[in-house]
Amino acid sequence: METIKLKINGFEVEAYDKQPLIEVAEKLGIRIPTLCHNPIIEPYGVCRVCTVEVRHGRRVRMVTACNYPVSNGIEVFTDSERVIRNRKMIIEWLLGRCGNVPVLNKLAEEYGIAEPRFGRGTDNCILCGLCVRVCQDIVGANVLGFFDRGPNRYVSTSYDETSDLCITCGACASVCPTGCITIEGLQEGIYKEMPMGPITPIHIDFMQAVPKKAVIDHDSCINFKTGGCKVCVDVCEAEAIDHSMQETEKEVDVGTILLSTGFKLQDGRELKEYGYGKYPNILTSLDFEVLNNANGPTGGKIVTQDGKIPKAIGIIHCVGSRDKKYHEYCSRVCCMYALKFAHLIKEKIHDCEVYNFYIDMRCFGKGYEEFYNRLLREGVNFVRGKVAEISDATLDKSEEGKLILRAEDTMVGTVRRIPVDMVVLCLAVEAQEDAKSTARLFGCAVGKDYFVNEKHPKLAPVSTPSDGVFIAGMVQGPKDIPDTVAQAGAASSAILSLIQQKEVETEVVTAVIEESMCSGCHICVDLCPYNAITFYQDRKKSEINEALCKGCGTCVAACPAGAAQQRNFKDVQIYAEIRGLLAI
């Protein structure tokens, strides 16, 4: 692009030919007031507030900076006497229509207009048309338009009726300079859909996301609704946004795999006695974590659903874990995060009573027991006993809106009834729903709680029966972050040592298929738990990959032709052994 030179308020600047004047001034740090200018929308020059004086040779003109294309040799004055006088007049005219708009009043104050000569109008739309243009040009919904003529002109929807075409994107409200467009029921609507607060269509999932990249939410992005907008594409300097991207599947050849598919929290609704989902102030541990997060919907303020600061909070340990009805195992992480919650609550709300209901405190790690003792000193209440039920069965007015916890206190030997404002359920960690099929896919077995079994609990804690497949984290069983990190470290070094070896050690007792005897019946292929047997369509024969075979011999026992034989456990060898046992 051709560069030209011009002067603004006496400063010489370089700019591209035909670049809008307001952009050039902005780069120089010169503020030109404007109402109807928005960088994403084609300038229109309708509010006239950005009027400046342009001299070209002997010619002097008053122009709107937002849509005036600069040219070589011009001289611009943004705050000359004439400009100020003109602008004052424009603002007074605008006030004559919209006398009570804060932006205009602020401008009036800036330009020393105490009482506008033409009075103060009661409208609040300056008819800049930003909303109409954003709806048509950017969003493409074509809902808003100008109606009537002359002094009666106004912005509305067709026939002034609620439009079916409106996608409630809020673009019109966000561009409106006077704030005269509002969306009805916006707040409630959003919180009904997303109780944890709204997210923008483009967002970074959470602060610790890896990779920490912005994503576009398909459901709320305007482009996927109307095909319009794409403002982000224009704004993104890295040109990283592509709305036409599709989900693709990639096939990657790897030698080792680390299974680290994690866990899920038990559904709190399974425990009817605790009323999760029924009472809004009963949160799961993850809900509370979001609520307490500084990036969360309340900015880290601990408040009940109706925005009040709780005076008493109950934290219930072992919900669904160490419980014969749900999971017999201990979820391992709850005790410590429950203590953390109690500590954070005490830190944020000093006079809040925190009740921890526990079966046993399992503070098993380094510094954990000390932390527990510290909490005892901080004045957190610990009640040893399980909560029987949570209800809203209040006795009198003072308990209104509170949740009533009934629990046995085995230390005192009595049943306690404690009213609280909020309850946090430390729900059990569970294996992922598809843990079994995932494990099967990788030739691993799951235990009775659907956590993937390691090869040996002490001697091979990160390996699985499938060579080259390793496990780390909650997929193997409940564990806290330090344990997970340690396990992941062990798994990755096991993986590296396997890669470094360059050769794979195979089992001694692998099975082999004698090709001349194989009838190609397929029976063995489906039986193999390690997917080690491949059927070759062209030869109509099956073949065992000895690197994958673990030597269980299931295929050998099933082979009707006797083509499959296991090394050191051949049929003839076993028959000979039986003969030996029976002494025949």
Partner: protein, 143 residues
């Protein structure tokens, strides 16, 4: 062995990872169980061809037992499932061959269940004593 009392011969095909180790544990823990059992190690209960069982019963065994890991605990993920499916059919087959299906047993005994191994052998021996010698046994009690 007194000639008056019948002592059955049991062939036990045990999986390397669970029942064989369990039997080992029964031994090292000095648990008492009848000496009638003769063990044979295979890598997995899934390796046991039903033909082995029939062969043993035809050739002098009074009872055959397959021992494997508990369902879901198989070292090879699912070998014992195959074993379990085969056992159901095998019992029918034994019956049609004229062999009492009670002479065949499939047991899940883990490596830590030495006591269960001893218990199972005791029970099986007692049952076989009640059943008497295997009719296919050609009267060869002295072997």
């Amino acid at each position: 062995m007194s000639k008056s009392e019948f002592e059955p011969r049991i062939v036990a095909l045990l999986c390397n990872w669970c029942t064989y180790t369990g039997a080992d544990l029964a031994g090292t823990a000095r648990m008492k169980y009848p000496p009638n059992v003769r063990t044979l190690r295979v890598m997995c209960s899934g390796r046991v061809d039903p033909a082995f069982v029939i062969f043993a019963l035809q050739n002098g065994a009074d009872g055959v037992m397959i021992g494997g890991c508990h369902i879901g605990d198989c070292h090879y993920a699912k070998g014992n499932y195959s074993s379990r499916r085969r056992a159901v059919i095998l019992k029918d087959t034994l019956e049609s061959l004229g062999i009492d299906p009670r002479r065949f047993r499939l047991e899940w005994i883990s490596a830590s269940e030495g006591d269960k191994f001893a218990e199972v052998i005791k029970k099986f021996t007692k049952e076989l004593k009640e059943l008497g010698p295997n009719p296919l046994n050609k009267g060869a009690q002295d072997a």
